[in-house]
Structures are given as structure tokens and as C-alpha cells.
Symmetry: C2
Subunit: 328 residues, 2 copies
């Protein structure tokens, strides 16, 4: 198989450097407090293998000093034994990922050396001002033997000079992949075009890859993901039925049906939707596009206010918009 990266991508191509990351447990866990049943997690793991998904993120590696394990489902913490209870030795091509937030994890203590873990990849989530701390984590985790990504969050709030400086720092680190993250779902595709170009140029010069993590506030998560892909971004995040915080993410069903690599099979995911996602929705777990998320997306604002508004079952959207504008 040709494993050279191909940067000029057309609809009929398939590019072996494109990889798909399932974040359903991690971003979706933010919706239901990580309280997935074991059957859900096991079936998702099996579905991802069948569907040809490349990475599955099991959740966060959160600090148990900062967060009380009694208040969250287990995928907030991703104990090694809990992952192994699902995947055993993970004798599959599906790689396993966890996310570690800068300042919210005890990575030195809680993340063992790669040789003692079934986890393959650690994703370091950072805000722009935390990049020096992120780099310390990256170097530590690389030394432990992991594949490491850095996910620079909320870049729609970051000015260009700071972003350029941050990317330059990261490109000199040992990180494998730098992620373009649209935390607030506020980017339009033509902004993604330009940002992808910037990230890909910087990362490629340093021998690194770029990933994309999109949110669906303006119903653009899928469009932005495939636009980034067209521009050479190669690690693509998605979740089943878009399950994720607020408006959710890029739909895995859509992404796999778009990609031309014959190893991807959206039917395994659609089967999982039939069995599990309809039930979740019927139980009242709420995520996905809605006007309050459109509003926070337009205003480039954190979705937390919209999540609260929806939880309170309010529908006075125009008042909500004015309240948000007052906070700007």
C-alpha cells in the first residue's frame, strides 16, 4: 500500500494518510457525565473495529484530586483496568486514545509507561496560554512511549500573532499531531481553508500531522471537517450521531460515507445507532444543533450558556441572544 501522504485530494481519491478518530465516549461523555453502560462501550469498540475507524478515544484522564470519582462515570478517568475490561490486550488494528487536559490531570502519576498500557495515544488539550505547560506534558508523554497530539482549543478567540507563535512553539516540540479545534463551532468553511493551510504548512515543515475537531453549532461540523481534509489535514475527529457537548460534533456516519478508502464502512456505525443511540435519545440525553447553539456559534462564545438555556427548557431565543450580547 502507498503510504506517502497525498496533499492534493479529490473526491474520487482515497489517501492512506487520512485517519479517523472516534470521540463519542469523550466528547459525548460531556453530555451524559460519562455514564455509558458497559454494553454501549463494548459495542462501540466492536463497531469501530468493523467500521475501519483508526482511533477510539475512551475519555479523559482527569485528576482524581480535582474531580471526585463518585460524581462522574468512569470514562472521565480512564483507569487502565477499565479500558482493559473492554478491550483486553486490544488485539485489533483500532488504536486507543485518551485525552489529558492541561492543568486537570496528574499525568506523571496517572499515565503509566506505554509498555504497561493498552493506550496508544494521548491527546493533550490546551488553551493557547498554556502551551508551555502542554509542551512539558508532550515531552513527558513522548518519553513514556506514546503517540501524542496537542489540541489547541478555542482558537476562534485567539489572535493571529499568538496563534502563529503557539504553532511555532509546538512545531519545535516532539508532538506528532497538532489539532485545529473549533471549540465554539464558529468557523465557516472558508476560515477552515485558511487555518488548515496555516496548520498544515507549519506542521509539515516539522514532520508532523494536523488533525481537526469540529463542532456543529452552525451545522458546519461535517462541512468543515471535509474542507480541512481537502486541505491536507489527516486526522479527522467524529462521533456517532454527532454526540458531543452542546451542538455536538461531525457525524461519524457522514464522514465514513464520504471517505473513499474501502476499509471504512459506515454500516457498522449505523447498526450501532439503531441499537444504542436511539435509546440514548429516547432516555432524554440531549445534544445536537439547536438555535441556542447557533447563537453561541455566531457570537463565538462558549456553549455553556446555551446548554444551561436548553436545560432550563427555555425557548425565548431572542432574549437569550440579548443576554449574551450584554456579556460581550
Amino acid at each position: 500500500m502507498n503510504t506517502e501522504p497525498c496533499n492534493k485530494r479529490t473526491l474520487m481519491d482515497y489517501c492512506p494518510d487520512i485517519k479517523v478518530m472516534d470521540c463519542t465516549l469523550r466528547d459525548g461523555g460531556l453530555v451524559n457525565n460519562f455514564s455509558f453502560t458497559d454494553e454501549f462501550v463494548r459495542d462501540l469498540y466492536e463497531a469501530n473495529i468493523k467500521a475501519g475507524v483508526d482511533y477510539m478515544e475512551f475519555g479523559y484522564k482527569a485528576s482524581k484530586e480535582l474531580f471526585d470519582p463518585k460524581s462522574f462515570g468512569r470514562w472521565k478517568f480512564c483507569d487502565e483496568k477499565d479500558i482493559r475490561a473492554i478491550v483486553g490486550e486490544n488485539k485489533s488494528p483500532l488504536k486507543i486514545s485518551i485525552m489529558a487536559d492541561v492543568g486537570r490531570c496528574d499525568y506523571k502519576k496517572d499515565i503509566p509507561a506505554k509498555k504497561d498500557s493498552v493506550v496508544d495515544m494521548v491527546r493533550v488539550a490546551t488553551y493557547i496560554h498554556q502551551i508551555p505547560t502542554a509542551i512539558e506534558m508532550i515531552e513527558h508523554l513522548k518519553k513514556k512511549g506514546y503517540e501524542v497530539t496537542v489540541n489547541v482549543m478555542a482558537v476562534s478567540k485567539v489572535n493571529t500573532d499568538d496563534l502563529d507563535a503557539g504553532l511555532a512553539l509546538l512545531s519545535r516540540s516532539s508532538v506528532d499531531t497538532i489539532y485545529l479545534v473549533d471549540s465554539f463551532g464558529s468557523f465557516y468553511p472558508e476560515q477552515i481553508t485558511k487555518l488548515s493551510q496555516k496548520y498544515v504548512e507549519t506542521a509539515e515543515a516539522a514532520g508532523k500531522n494536523v488533525g481537526i475537531h469540529a463542532h456543529n453549532n452552525q451545522q458546519l461540523a461535517f462541512a468543515n471537517t471535509i474542507e480541512a481534509c481537502r486541505m491536507g489535514v489527516s486526522l479527522l475527529d467524529a462521533t456517532v450521531s454527532g454526540m458531543g457537548r452542546g451542538a455536538g460534533n461531525c457525524y461519524m456516519e457522514s464522514l465514513l460515507s464520504f471517505l473513499k478508502n474501502p476499509k471504512y464502512d459506515e454500516i457498522a456505525i449505523i447498526r450501532f445507532v439503531e441499537k444504542h443511540m436511539l435509546k440514548l435519545k429516547a432516555e432524554g440525553v440531549v445534544w445536537g444543533y439547536d438555535i441556542p447553539y447557533l447563537v453561541t456559534g455566531i457570537l463565538n462564545s462558549h456553549p455553556s450558556s446555551a446548554i444551561k438555556f436548553i436545560k432550563e427548557q427555555r425557548t425565548d431565543y431572542c432574549n437569550f441572544m440579548q443576554e449574551l450580547l450584554d456579556l460581550e
Copy 2:
């Protein structure tokens, strides 16, 4: 005000040649059999005026010989007196449009001369093989004094040679605007880029405009609409909350918040959503993205099978997919 068309569009520009068309009653009418209350229609008319929308389509001009008026709401037929009952003499900047399907209307008899009508625009909906008949309609309606568009449906099923021939014929007609229509919601943005380019080049050479009408089967209606806009397409269709057949259309709320022309105000539309659309949904009127529409979108197939599947409250998506593949 500068009224020169500007073709190189960036996010910060606003281009006076861009016009927005509300098709809520027409495409949304396909969902509820055109049974909107008078209050709904009147409030929508007022909301569109406040929001700066340029055109409002009231519905179809269907033949009463072919369709029994007792079986449909009045906006299937758009009698002059019914439109006037809402808009009077329409002393507003909002222009009024109706749609006439080739072969399904008695346009010679049922559409009066423009001087006797409050309607400003007639949109002729045609399949590729009906273009000669469409042109006869176009010439007739232009002589009667209307602004006329032609909406070539289902182009995702049309081969390039036929499309080129069809566009060439239309560019020699008197039509004002040629519409790019993604009837099955099957196009990706990069296909819209190329098609928009083709349509705009052909139309501009003949002194005509291009419009876009997108469907949301793959959650790409908004993305495809703004991509077409970027490429110089100037008449943009949307519906409130995306209400339209099957997966629905581009959301007016999203489109107006994207456009930079200060005359557009999405708040008037969001207020309308608060008052009317939530009620419609609560009453069980169903439209919008769902897996069966994703499937027909992927397979470039008419949404009717997905509409039936959803009406039957089936959720065996994988079986549905196999049934559809059997029909290919």
C-alpha cells in the same frame, strides 16, 4: 449604494447583488400538505419584511385539473385572491414569488398578466428533459411581465453533456435566473464549487444570474449555499428552521446571520421560530436531517423512500439501505 455585482466575495464583504429567497411555504408545504394557518402565513410575511429577505415564495401554482383543491392547502394553488388576502397590494420591498412545475400547471390560463397580479416572480421547475417545454413557459411568462427563474431539478442525476446542453439552451432564453438545485442533497461542497462555476460562467455570459436551492440530507445545505455564494451565485434559497421536504433546506436563521449586508436581521426570523416553528414541531410535523435522508443523499436517490420509512416509524436503517441498493 453600489449595485455592481462583485464576484470575488470574502467573509467581510457584503455584496448588494446577493438576494435571499424564503421558500418556507413552498418547500415546507410539501411536509404538511400546504396546511398553514393564516396567522402563520401573515406572520411569516411580516417576519420576512423585518428580516430584510428579498423574495418570499408563497407556494405552487398547481393545476386544479390535475390536483383536487379539496385535498391540499391553498398554497398548492396560490390563487391571486389568497395571496392578496395576506399581502394586500404588497406595499413592501419584499417581492413575491410562486413556483410552477413544468407539466403540472395551467400557466396560460391560471397566471394573469403581471399588471393584474401582486406576484413579482415565477419560478419554473423543470427536469432536464423538459427544458424545451420550460423555455416555452419562460417566454410566455416573461411576455406577461414577470421576473422568471428556471430551476433545473435533480442535476445530480444528469450527465455533464446533457447539463451543458441544457444550460446552453437556457442561456439563450429570456429567463432572468438559472437555479442550481441539489434535489437529493447529494452534493459535497467541492462539487458545488465546480457546478457554481459552470452555471455562473454560462449565465453571466448571457447576462443572467444564478440561484442555489440546497437540501440538508448530509447536513450540507447551509455549507453548500455559502460555498455557491462565494463562487458568485447570487439568489440564495432558505427556509425557516430548514422546513422542507425530507431533510429540509438551508436554515434561514443561519444564512441571515452569515450574510454581512446590514439589512438582514436574523432576529426577526428567530422570533418567528419562537412563535410558530416550535408549535409546528410539537404538533408532529416532521422534517430535518435524519439517517434515512443521509442514506438517500449518499445514494443520490429521491427522498420519497426515506419519507415513507420515517412515516412508518421504522428504525432499521441498515435494512433500508439494502432495500435502496436493490433498486439501483
